[in-house]
Symmetry: C2
Subunit: 424 residues, 2 copies
Amino acid sequence: MAELMTRRRLLALLGSGAALAAKPSLAVVSTQAEAPLQPFTGPGPNPYWNGVGPYVTYPQKLPLQRLTDRPIQLETPRQYFTEAFTPNAAFFVRYHLSVIPNEIDLAAWRLKLEGNFSKPMELSLPQLLHDFKPVSIAAVNQCSGNSRSRFQPRVAGGQWGNGAMGNAMWTGVRLQDILERAGIGRGTVQIQFEGLDHGVGPVDKGSGRFMKSFDATDAILGKAIVAFLMNGEPLPMLNGFPVRLVVPGKFATYWTKHLTFIRALTQTDNNFWMNPAYRIPATPGGNVTPEAMATGKIKTVPIGTVDMPVRSFIIEPDGSAPLIRNMPAQIRGIAFSGRGRITKVEVSTDDGKTWQHATLGQDHGVYAFRTYTYLWTPKSAGAFTLAVRATDQTGSVQTDQAVWNPGGYLWNRIERQEVTVLSA
Amino acid sequence: MAELMTRRRLLALLGSGAALAAKPSLAVVSTQAEAPLQPFTGPGPNPYWNGVGPYVTYPQKLPLQRLTDRPIQLETPRQYFTEAFTPNAAFFVRYHLSVIPNEIDLAAWRLKLEGNFSKPMELSLPQLLHDFKPVSIAAVNQCSGNSRSRFQPRVAGGQWGNGAMGNAMWTGVRLQDILERAGIGRGTVQIQFEGLDHGVGPVDKGSGRFMKSFDATDAILGKAIVAFLMNGEPLPMLNGFPVRLVVPGKFATYWTKHLTFIRALTQTDNNFWMNPAYRIPATPGGNVTPEAMATGKIKTVPIGTVDMPVRSFIIEPDGSAPLIRNMPAQIRGIAFSGRGRITKVEVSTDDGKTWQHATLGQDHGVYAFRTYTYLWTPKSAGAFTLAVRATDQTGSVQTDQAVWNPGGYLWNRIERQEVTVLSA
């Protein structure tokens, strides 16, 4: 039996043009148990598609990569993104606070509409189920900090790879229908959302309560739903059981889990999670320089004032095995945008010099993952850099421009994948 | 924060009608790291959908459940079966022998046609790619022993749950085209297949070589392909890189991994893996009793002489969370048959007393997984037993009849899932 290779040695070999040139026809893979990826601390960008957390299992979940323990943050491994819908058991988890619900007494649970409503009310789950018309929408839930580990220079915050995203079919009640029943009072400036997760200690101070608000005039309130089903099943506890807010096109920070309080505010919400947290520079693409930020003169706005930019990802091939010259290979993955339907996905096999149209998969709606495939038959051996870029119906297209802002938000640079083609 | 619960306690609670009657509206789930499932040794059937192996990671693979280490046997967790195609990284692994290839030198590798061919030949990978017309087929690869842990009384062999199966789009060369080029010699009675995996010690004795054969007149030879792509990518090493035999409708034991030798035999193959291994009673459905087997009078035949029976599985809901009364829930999963297209999937929510038609998903071909969905809105709280049965175009339909044979093969009884519905 051939010498066994560690994953690190394997990666080194596959990544080394010299080694390949020396032995171009060797397809190597170890079958030994995989060694954990080497942690990275920078200063360079994370070189892996995912973050480097260990696999852990939680109830209702497949093994996911743990970013942090308290609060719980779990990243979805790359391989789950070959299909348009992300399994509930593989869906990423991101909490901000350490106290999270482990059980819900549905007989006691109520969705509470408080504050400046003409008819403040408490809705039971049966009321949500019976008294409103159910609706469904496929929508991507993506952490604002997804891909933060690419930022240069490095920024603080969870060093997510690309796995802090997922697409599900959400079923629930239109937020607008609920708000209309409660009657938004004159003078309401924002609608605030809060769930059951909270911090240790007094919950009414500082950052111990996770509250998010939209302006009362924001059109997104007409698109949001209070979801009680995720891909046809009750939401996993770690994804917000019994109901969570679904805000199509917006980042996940607004998708309040365990949604329990909806408040009509007569003043702008300035709690920690609205200000200073989750703000972006009021610049094109949220882009700025560290130097400009340091001046203290850059105006910021809540990230909820923008929609998610267009993105696309190569899922396969993933570089774990070489391709073979003259053997057709399917390049595939997903694309999405918070700004409109995906209209085009292009693939490059020469590091972005030239682009070819990929074939788009089924259209599951404006806010869903759209799968794509591109059949590539490499005509020569060697190292290749694949790239993918998507365009949405607003004409937004991904570029090679890296974004930078202190929160590590809005990353949407063109993604690349190194692959090796053997001569066979 | 509520008392934390172990998974075992949670399962006990959810499974206990008494506990639920006492507190019917409590939806409970722990967010603590999941405890390993309790191993089971019988004498009863494995109560879990999957086997109870620990999650392990291997190169090119997501964490899978390890059944055995040498030979490597890895089971696919239930949650991967919501879609028609099983990701390569999640595809189950089953070797028989402990020495498996860790690297392949493609410049030296050849597919060798030996024995009673008129033109014995060696084909390089480039020849396979260039000299033949490529074809693709979606087909289920299922271990003969899939679900063996259900057998009563228990039988020897790997105690698989239901996860020793997967569906992929296989691309390669028709076996028939290769055989025709080599010219099957007069007097050939069987065609034999062997790969690179082998046993420790002399490979020419006993069971140290894994060889499988079909009769030269078997129509299956006209359907088989020598596949070099799996879902558009080179096969993972653990699934048979660089080529494996794909035998649509037949059990996986014939899907030779790392296929390297194709032999035209002039005598019936009686090597260990054809006889006594992988044989079934020549009885309807391969069914027999331990007592009848003990008489030594039961005639057996290779499992390759039959096609896989029709099967279907409930993937969601999986019992990890309660359903809610009056809340629509999507029952979904997959069905397949080695005997013909899936024409009907029926779901029962009352333990098989009454059945309703499920909606079939996209048809990916006769031999592929066919997804199904059934929307169920439970109208009362309590414990329910879901069941699913499939029918194929030959009229074969699953029944509640448990099969038994000493190999633990051909299990296809109607699958069930206990769920709890809370009153909310």
